[in-house]
């Protein structure tokens, strides 16, 4: 018998629908948004805390220690995956990777932005293997330092890698296979190492890494950012140590110049800029979440496709965990003559999901273009409004992952006491029921948070539509709300779909 998690109750569904209706009315009939005045709170400016923070971010040992811890866990995952029990719920490789890290990562972005990238074990191992230095600037001859070819210098590779990772995760089922989990982890280290050894700086982090780019784009909605304390200092800076590095510190791994930095997308929070800046002018600061998605981030064609892809894939994750998915696949496989693991059928389903979301968005952009009669070219409009996908994907991603995190990570202490699952047996039905009932927080609290996240996502999406719309379809500085209807339809449709998914029972992963 397969167990399912209960879906969001009708009450919360109605609350969210009510909010959607109110939000749409407000968007249609409220005055045009005023230009955002971003108020930020630099941690460096807070007495006592500021000094502490400055010392903390400039301290190499702290970051290095955290990297050691993460690499330690990573090596444990590989060892347990290859040598431990194949029972997924008893092996730390699958439990730690998929139940805790993969589910929890998206929440770390919500609070800490791209902090994960700073301690990423794939990058740390690649760095140590290729540069042969723990943290100091390495000899440039350790790498071929080839410039990334133009056709690769975009986020298309990361999008393809993300689709491939989703295929492995949900199609092949590496989430319930410790051995495959370890093998894929090793593959990522090999790819990161190869990229670092061949290309300039950290091309893997910037262009290829599916996790890094997901973290990066979601970080546009994070409430923190690493930025200059005083922009004038950066404007008058002649050395650009943040970009070039100095004798001790590596340059920015993703080619960012702090004085011109407007979005978190490619910042890996590595701290090189804070350590190399001769003026101590770089610091963490709080900001209103989503400010980038609303107006700071510049629209790019490849990035907009990544965001739309992210939206499609998060929804697809939800669909595959519905009880009806297997029936669909089975019926489809019968029609096509597919057998066995039904991977061809699954692949068609995955690509169809991306194609449907992309097609709906593309059509609605064309409708927007027609309605508004804007002179903007199609690609520009497509990229401008693509930011609406971020809050919709992010909020559903978190709401969905909460189920995994809160309901499925209950027995995690057991795998820490026996990481390889030596002499363990599969979970009994009694244990499954016990885990089902023993959650980290109460079910009502879980539902409340999920509903809150859905409302948060829709609200930010409305704001994105209003602010991004202002720049393209404002008439006499007044927002013609009706002309935003196609984009509103997109946000309403996606949110309703996500809400429907959340209200269905969801199959327990392990």
């Amino acid at each position: 018998m397969t167990m399912t998690h209960p879906g969001l109750p009708d009450f919360w569904g109605l609350v969210i629908i009510g909010f959607i209706l109110l939000g749409v009315l407000w968007t249609l009939f409220s005055p045009a948004p005023i230009k955002i005045r971003t108020s930020v709170l630099s941690l460096a400016s807070i007495p006592v805390i500021g000094t502490g923070m400055r010392n903390l971010v400039a301290n190499r040992w702290l970051l290095l220690s955290l990297k050691f811890v993460m690499v330690g866990f990573f090596l444990l995952i590989i060892f347990a995956g290859l040598f431990g029990t194949p029972i997924p719920e008893r092996n730390i490789a699958t439990v730690l990777t998929w139940n805790l890290w993969w589910s929890g990562l998206v929440f770390s972005i919500f609070f800490l932005g791209s902090a994960w990238c700073a301690v990423c074990p794939w990058d740390a191992l690649a760095q140590w293997l290729v540069r042969r230095k723990l943290w100091r600037r390495a000899e440039p001859n350790n790498s071929l330092n080839i410039k990334v070819p133009r056709w690769l210098a975009n986020v298309w590779p990361a999008l393809l890698m993300f689709i491939a990772l989703t295929w492995l995760e949900l199609g092949v089922g590496i989430t319930v296979n410790p051995y495959a989990t370890a093998a894929v982890s090793l593959l990522m280290v090999v790819l990161a190492t190869a990229s670092l050894a061949i290309f300039q700086r950290k091309a893997f982090c910037r262009y290829f890494c599916p996790v890094g780019r997901t973290v990066g784009f979601y970080s546009q909605l994070a409430p923190i950012e690493l930025r200059p304390i005083d922009n004038d200092t950066c404007a008058s800076c002649k050395t650009l140590d943040c970009y070039h590095g100095n004798e001790e510190v590596e340059p920015c791994p993703t080619w960012l110049v702090m004085g011109r930095l407007k979005q978190n997308s490619y910042c890996t929070s590595c701290g090189n800029c804070t350590q190399s800046c001769p003026h101590e002018n770089i610091a963490w600061r709080f900001r209103p979440p989503s400010v980038e998605a609303l107006h700071s981030a510049r629209p790019h064609w490849d990035e907009s496709w990544f965001m739309i892809g992210l939206l499609a894939l998060t929804g697809f994750h939800g669909v595959t965990m519905m009880p009806f998915w297997e029936t669909w696949m089975s019926q489809f496989a019968q029609l096509t003559g597919d057998s066995g693991r039904l991977l061809p059928s699954f692949t068609i389903g995955l690509l169809a999901c991306i194609a449907v979301i992309a097609a709906i968005y593309s059509i609605l952009i064309e409708v927007t273009r027609k309605i508004t009669g804007t002179d903007l070219e199609y690609k520009r409009l497509f990229s401008t409004f693509a930011f609406v996908a971020l809050p919709l994907a992010f909020s559903y991603h978190m709401a969905h992952n909460l189920n995994h995190l809160i309901r499925e990570s209950v027995g995690i202490s057991a795998v820490f006491s026996n990481p390889l699952g030596v002499d363990t047996v599969p979970l009994s039905m009694m244990e499954k029921h016990e885990r089902h009932l023993t959650m980290w927080i109460s079910q009502d609290a879980l539902f409340t948070i999920q509903a809150g996240l859905m409302i948060f996502g829709f609200w930010i999406a409305l704001q994105v539509i209003r602010h991004r719309g202002l720049s393209v379809i404002a008439i006499n500085n007044k927002l013609a709300g009706v002309k935003l209807l196609p984009m509103l339809t997109f946000a309403i449709g996606i949110t309703s779909f996500h809400l429907w998914l959340l209200m269905q029972p969801m199959i327990m992963r392990m």
Binding site: F83, L144, N177, E326, S330, F332, S339, G340
Partner: protein, 216 residues
């Protein structure tokens, strides 16, 4: 409908098998596919097709079993391996259960079980384990292996003149864990050594060039 039979390799990352193991016998019928995808049916969920699941029978004092549910042609096939992690010199058993997808009727003919080494090259000779008639609709085949290794169990049956061939891997003893580590370490060493050699050549070339430039 002219079908050349079904062959299925059900489990694991074995691309070499899949190259010849699947035979698609139907063409895609887009309208019917779309129609079916639009149908939202509530169904009793099982394990995701084709993936191994480990389970414990709490009603008896038996070791855990591994179970795979899969689909081939007109049949849903479930096979279970007892124990879940068989070892060399220990007796084990494969249970196979096949039901028609359309009416749920269990297959009641004869199933032949064969075994062969799961190797990429060379030995493709199979040995027949036995032919079994159903016992309460379940086909039970015992096995005992003298040495650890990777094997392929093949279950074959014929229905309405169409042969059904189901391959599934069976591992006896612990998995070979050196493989992924060896490949990863080997790849990294090749990359690093390759980069080192190229860089040495670059340095040498630049030294020679500099020497030529400095020569009056």
């Amino acid at each position: 409908m002219n079908r050349s039979g079904y062959r299925l390799q059900a489990l694991g990352f074995r691309l070499k098998q899949s190259l010849h193991a699947f035979r698609f016998s139907y063409g895609l019928r887009p309208a019917a596919c779309i129609f079916l995808l639009l149908l939202v049916e509530t169904a009793n969920a099982h394990h995701v097709l084709g993936r191994p699941a480990y389970s414990l029978n709490e009603d008896s004092n038996t070791p855990p079993s591994m179970q795979v549910e899969t689909q081939i042609g007109d049949y849903f096939v479930t096979y279970m391996i007892f124990p879940a992690f068989p070892k060399a010199g220990e007796r084990g058993r494969v249970n196979l259960y096949a039901t028609r997808i359309d009416n749920g009727k269990a297959y009641s003919g004869e199933v032949t079980f064969k075994v062969r080494d799961d190797v990429y090259f060379g030995n493709d000779n199979s040995e027949t384990l036995g032919s079994q008639l159903p016992d309460d609709s379940v086909f039970r085949q015992g096995f005992e292996f003298s040495s650890n290794g990777e094997y392929i169990i093949t279950a074959e049956f014929t229905e309405a003149g169409e042969p059904y061939i189901i391959d599934f891997p069976l591992r006896i003893g612990p998995p070979s864990s050196i493989g992924p580590i060896g490949i990863a370490v080997g790849s990294i060493v090749i990359i690093l050594v390759g980069v080192n050699l190229v860089q040495r050549k670059r340095l040498l070339t630049s030294k020679i060039r500099n020497a030529h430039e400095e020569t009056p």
